[in-house]
Every structure is written in structure tokens, then in C-alpha cells.
């Protein structure tokens, strides 16, 4: 049995308190103490502290946050910008939204510290539009922070001037990609930019810009407040610290589990009460739909950047979507592929055309009208997208296809042997009776 003490709530520590989204509650728990410590340091020291902590970006790629801040050229005479990526739209990902809803001030405190470090006088939070409750809390928290002197002119008497603008997007997954986000924030269609130049050199309005994920920035105040050693006491050498793991799908207690990097799904499932009664895990994503799927063979993979990478996937957003044996993998992959087709921004041919053809092929396969040759074509198209697209959305589209064919080729075959999908869609619903349903071609090869 996994000990509850495995969990390390930091960002989520105050969520069960009275109105944790208010400045009062946040301050009672030591909120804005990290900022005071940061403002007493030289900005370069703040960057060094974040570098020393080993904090890695929580937006998916795991790039070291302090190093990214260090890339911002100093004394270049240009304005610098901090842009928080709160677009959270990767399928399965559901950590930043509950975080900003329950505890918006930890993000704002992080924004101020980061802006001080990179010498930015204007920061933005780009939040996806489809989450009005979060927008409401952010508007309010920003207003509170201005009133308390944490934002505006001469923050806490430090000489730092900082404006913070909360900006709502308008529905486009691609705007989570950092350069598409910048175009969108400039009032354009959200399409990725060619790199180099990287945003650190020419980002928003062609000025040095740091784009960081919500959880990355929110992790900074506790580091400043409690120290690098404390942060490094959790997780591993290369993936230190705590993080939010989001369990969803066929688990008894889905939700947010804040734990040190490197826990395993087996440990988390144990805490979550296991896969729902009477069923067993079939496949899961370690970090959203764009990360190659895993199976029950991977329950003991350490969920950190190295561990998941070594096992052939990516830690991504730590969105652990759990699917039990009632779920048809072809249906799951088709739906994800339709998502990528819908969200492809159309800028480059491999992704725009490729996702269209993938959807056509998968639709035919799911209906049981495919042939074995179609599987080769599917892989061929995926191969023409992966690594050949302009941005990582295309790579993400190839992931579910390649990984599902690796583990569940037989299930694709079963569709055309069966003349359609052998699964009962009612069996996978949240309200299905707990008795294991007959699963047709359920087992994977």
C-alpha cells in the first residue's frame, strides 16, 4: 500500500482552506513571502536560484526554467516581456485550470518574481477563453494584487514597475504553442513562427520574451520561500521537485495528485483507489494525447522526464488518462486524430494534409472497412508528419497512431475481421454497471 505521505501538496496545499483564491487566505499561508525574498536579491541571483533548483518547465518539454530566463539578453535597451502560457488545451491536461481557479495568487506571485528576474515591466497571462470561472478569479486576484502594491508602480518599494494583463484567447489549441501564442497575443491568427529567432531574442513585438507554463511560474514562489535544498529534497537529480499529476478516466478517484517527480502510476493508482471496480488498465497516456501511449507494462516507469523518455514516451503535461479494457483503442485514436485535424492551423502541408488523411483512414478502419494495407498507409502518413511538420502539433498527431499500432495492432485487425467495432460503447461510460463487460478483442498483443 502506498503511503499517503508520498504526496507533497505545495501548490495545492491551501485549496481546502476558506476561499483560497483570496489574497487574505494566500497571505496567511506565507503567500508573497517568496516575493519579498526575491526583491531583496539581485535579479541575477534570482535567476541563479531558479537555475540551482533544477526546476524544469511544466508545459510539456521540461526545459530548465532558470536557463530560459538566463537567455533573455540584458542591457539591450529593449522592453522585455513575460508571457504565461495558460492555454491548457492538450487533451487530458487539467492541472493549470484547477490551480488558477483555486489559487491564482501563487501564479501572480510567480509572475512578479519572474518579471523582476528577467527585467520585464509588462507581463501577460494568456488564458484559454473557454474557462470563464478561471478568468473571473484571475481578474479578481490581479485587482487585489494591484491594490496591495504587488503590481503597478514601484512594487513594494523595490523600484520594480510591473503591469500584468490577463488576456483571454478565443478557442484554438495551437495557441498553446509558444510562438503561435505570441502571434495570437499580437492580434493575429495563431500560427507558429519560424525559429530562430527564439522568443528569448525576438518574441512579443520582436522583443526578448519569456514564455512559461502556469505551473512552472507557480512553482517559483515556494522555491524562493523555502529554498533550493528543500525543492531538491523531492524528485530526482535531473527532475527535482514536486508536480501536479492529473489522473482521469477509469480510476476510482480521479483528480489532482501533487507528488515528487518520479512516482509511478502504480503508486498513484494505489492512492486513487485503483482502476474502477472490476476492470483492469488497458492503455494510458503519461502526459496528454500527444505523448505515446503506455500499457500495463509501464506501471512502474518513474514518471519523470528521464524515466518516461527512456520508456519511449514523454512526461509531457503529466496528464494520466486511464483507459480500461472496455475502451476501443481505435475509437480513442480516431477521436484524438479528429482533434488534431480540427486544430491543425493549416500553415504547413504535412500536418494540414496528413491529419486529414489520417482521419479518413482511421474512420474507414473503425467502421471495419479497412484492409491490412491501410495500416501501412496509416504509418506511412504518420511518418510523413512526424519530424517533418513546422511545429510539434504535427508530431503529437503521429504519437497516438504509432504507439497504438505498436501495442494494439491486433485490435485494428479485429475491426475488419469483425466488420466494425467489436466494443460496446456503453460499457466504458461513467455510469456503466461495474460488472466487466464482454470486450471482444480487448486484449492487446
Amino acid at each position: 500500500m502506498t503511503e499517503p505521505s508520498l504526496l507533497t501538496p505545495v501548490l495545492s496545499a491551501n485549496w481546502d482552506e476558506h476561499q483560497p483564491w483570496t489574497l487574505d487566505t494566500y497571505r496567511r499561508g506565507g503567500g508573497y513571502d517568496g516575493l519579498r525574498k526575491a526583491l531583496a536579491m539581485h535579479p541575477d541571483e534570482v535567476i541563479q536560484t531558479v537555475k540551482d533548483s533544477g526546476l524544469r518547465g511544466r508545459g510539456g518539454a521540461g526545459f530548465p526554467t532558470g536557463m530560459k530566463w538566463g537567455f533573455i539578453p540584458q542591457n539591450d535597451g529593449k522592453p522585455h516581456y513575460l508571457v504565461v502560457n495558460a492555454d491548457e488545451s492538450e487533451p487530458g491536461t487539467c492541472k493549470d485550470i484547477p490551480l488558477m481557479y483555486a489559487n491564482p495568487h501563487v501564479l501572480i506571485e510567480g509572475v512578479i518574481i519572474a518579471s523582476y528576474a528577467i527585467r520585464s515591466e509588462h507581463a501577460f497571462i494568456y488564458v484559454r477563453g473557454e474557462v470563464v470561472p478561471v478568468l473571473r478569479r484571475l481578474h479578481n486576484a490581479v485587482r487585489e494584487a494591484y491594490a496591495a502594491g504587488y503590481l503597478g508602480k514601484n512594487v513594494l518599494g523595490s523600484g520594480l514597475d510591473l503591469e500584468l494583463t490577463v488576456h483571454a484567447g478565443a478557442g484554438a489549441y495551437i495557441c498553446g504553442e509558444e510562438t503561435a501564442l505570441l502571434d495570437s497575443l499580437e492580434g493575429r491568427r495563431g500560427q507558429p513562427r519560424l525559429r530562430p529567432p527564439f522568443p528569448a531574442v525576438a518574441g512579443l513585438y520582436a522583443s526578448p520574451t519569456c514564455v512559461n507554463n502556469v505551473e512552472s511560474i507557480a512553482s517559483v514562489p515556494p522555491i524562493l520561500n523555502k529554498g533550493v535544498e528543500w525543492f531538491r529534497s523531492m524528485g530526482s537529480e535531473k527532475s527535482p521537485g514536486f508536480t501536479l499529476y492529473s489522473l482521469s478516466g477509469h480510476v476510482k478517484r480521479p483528480g489532482q495528485y501533487e507528488a515528487p517527480l518520479g512516482v509511478t502510476l502504480r503508486q498513484l493508482l494505489d492512492l486513487a483507489g485503483g482502476v474502477r471496480e472490476g476492470h483492469r488498465i488497458k492503455f494510458w497516456t503519461p502526459g496528454g494525447s500527444s505523448t505515446p501511449m503506455f500499457t500495463d507494462e509501464h506501471l512502474d516507469v518513474p514518471l519523470d522526464y528521464e524515466g518516461v523518455g527512456a520508456a519511449g514516451s514523454m512526461l509531457g503535461t503529466k496528464a494520466l488518462q486511464i483507459f480500461d479494457e472496455t475502451v476501443c483503442v481505435v475509437r480513442a485514436v480516431l477521436r484524438w486524430t479528429e482533434f488534431y485535424e480540427h486544430e491543425s492551423c493549416g500553415k504547413c502541408t504535412p500536418c494540414r494534409e496528413g491529419t486529414y488523411w489520417l482521419t479518413q483512414l482511421l474512420t474507414r478502419l473503425e467502421r471495419g472497412e479497412g484492409t491490412e494495407q491501410d495500416l501501412e498507409t496509416l504509418l506511412d502518413v504518420a511518418d510523413n508528419i512526424l519530424g517533418k511538420s513546422f511545429c510539434a502539433l504535427g508530431d503529437g498527431a503521429a504519437s497516438p497512431i504509432q504507439s497504438s499500432l505498436k501495442y494494439f495492432r491486433d485490435e485494428y485487425l479485429a475491426h475488419f475481421e469483425h466488420g466494425g467495432c467489436p466494443f460496446d460503447t456503453a460499457a466504458s461510460t461513467a455510469w456503466a454497471s461495474t460488472a466487466p463487460a464482454s470486450t471482444g478483442a480487448g486484449a492487446h498483443s
Binding site: S12, D16, L135, V166, A170, Y205
Partner: protein
Amino acid sequence: MSTDLGMPMPPAKPAPPFPPEVRARLEVDAKEVIGRYPQARSALLPLLHLVQAEEGYVTGTGIEFCADMLGLTAAEVSAVSTFYTMYRRRQGGDFHVGVCTNTLCAVMGGDEIFASLKDHLGIGNKETTADGVVTLEHIECNAACDYAPVVMVNWEFFDDATPQSAKELVDDLRAGKHAVPTRGARLCTFRDTSRILAGFPDERPGAVDEGGAGGAASLVGLRIANGTQADEPARLTPARRPPTEDVAKDAPASPSSHDAPARTAESDPAHPAPPTGPATDQDGDQAP
């Protein structure tokens, strides 16, 4: 794919401007929005939300207004507005009901919920009920997978939905009752919601504090760590769905003093919104 790409018909002549008093009011708002950014064009997305708040969808008039405020052409503004899925291209209902049918929600029952709502309301994807109250749409992952299956109304969360709870929800909306989200505040209309998206805080007293810190799923890890987790599934059972309040539909005070959007948009007579009958969106759900 049909040849109608779902975009506003190419205007034969420039769309008529907003009536002077509407324009004067919107200009004040627009300038406030533009003032938040180092460069004016960054205000375009919020301004599109703003004109949508005024008219319920993005009309030729709204596009001309944005273009005018930012020194852009109408074509430049249209190119942006048609890229993003949240900007409506035709009039819709007061309540946008979105059912997540991305993979995780779909297998957890989102597909059944969407099918049963289509059947129950007698409308298809992106169509509006004849009474003009509900526009139904299937949506992508809304970052609430731990509450799957998820229904959004005017982009507030109705977590752990079932076909039954979703049908009751739309019935309540159509009966003028206020439905209470599991996370979020009392619903306001689609247009009021668009105004919040434009960056104008929700000024209804208490709205910020409604909805708590999150449901059981948000808190489960913390509660296990604290030893306060009850040994029941975190998932909300339909029976524990929050009650609906019996309040008149227009009860909430308008968000702010300068927010008194005209009820109907007469600004684009050449391209009137379809009458309240089901509006079929022939473009299906084409990518941006």
C-alpha cells in the same frame, strides 16, 4: 464539405455602423481594452469578444468597428475572427451548451450525452433551439478531464454529467431557471460572458466567490495527504448534482454600469440573424 464555409457572406457594401450611441459606448470600452497593451493590435481578440457581447455574434458591423478602432482593414479582422472557434458567425442562443467529446470524455459518456441532447432538443451540432435559448455544440477537451464527462454552459463547468443531468440542465435553462455550475458562478447570458472574455471583470456581487475551490477531484490528492479524504469515490454521483435555483432568467444585475447591451442588433440589416428557428451550420465544424 459544402461550398458555404460558414463565413459571413462577403458584404456587398460596407456593413452599416453601430448606431451613434452604441458606438460611443463601445468606443469607451474599446479604448480601455487597447490601453492594456503596448501595441494596439493586441487588443483585437478582446475587441472581438466585446462586439460579440454587443450583438451575440461577430457581425460585419462588429468587424468594421474593430478594424476602425485598430487601424486595420475589415479583411484583416475577418481573417482573425474566423480562425478562432469561440467567435460565432451567426446568431445563437443565450446559453451555449458545449459537450466535451474529446477522447476521454467521449468514452466516459460524452458521446451519449451529446447524442441524447441532440435528440432531446431536436437540433444538431451548432444549432439553436427555436426559442433561441440553447445553442448546442460538441467541444474539445476543456481541461476538466478529471470530472469527465464534462458539459460547459457559457464556459462554466458542469462536471460529472450524465445524459439525465444534461437533459434536466437544458430543460431548466429553457424554463428560465438558473442552473448552478459545479465550478463557476451563477450563469449569465452568452453575451454577458463574452464581456468578461473581453477583459471586463464580472461585477455581480459575490460572483467571484461562487463555486468554491474546486470539486472532489481537485482536492482528492490534498485530502489523502491530509488524511481527510472520505473513502468514497471522488467522482460526483449524479444524485449529488447541485440543485438548480428557481430564479427568473434575467435576474442577475447587469455586470457594470456601462454595460447595458442592446437586446437585439439591428446593425446589419443586410445580413439579419436567422429567425429564432433552428439555425443550421452548414460548415459542420471545420477547423480554424
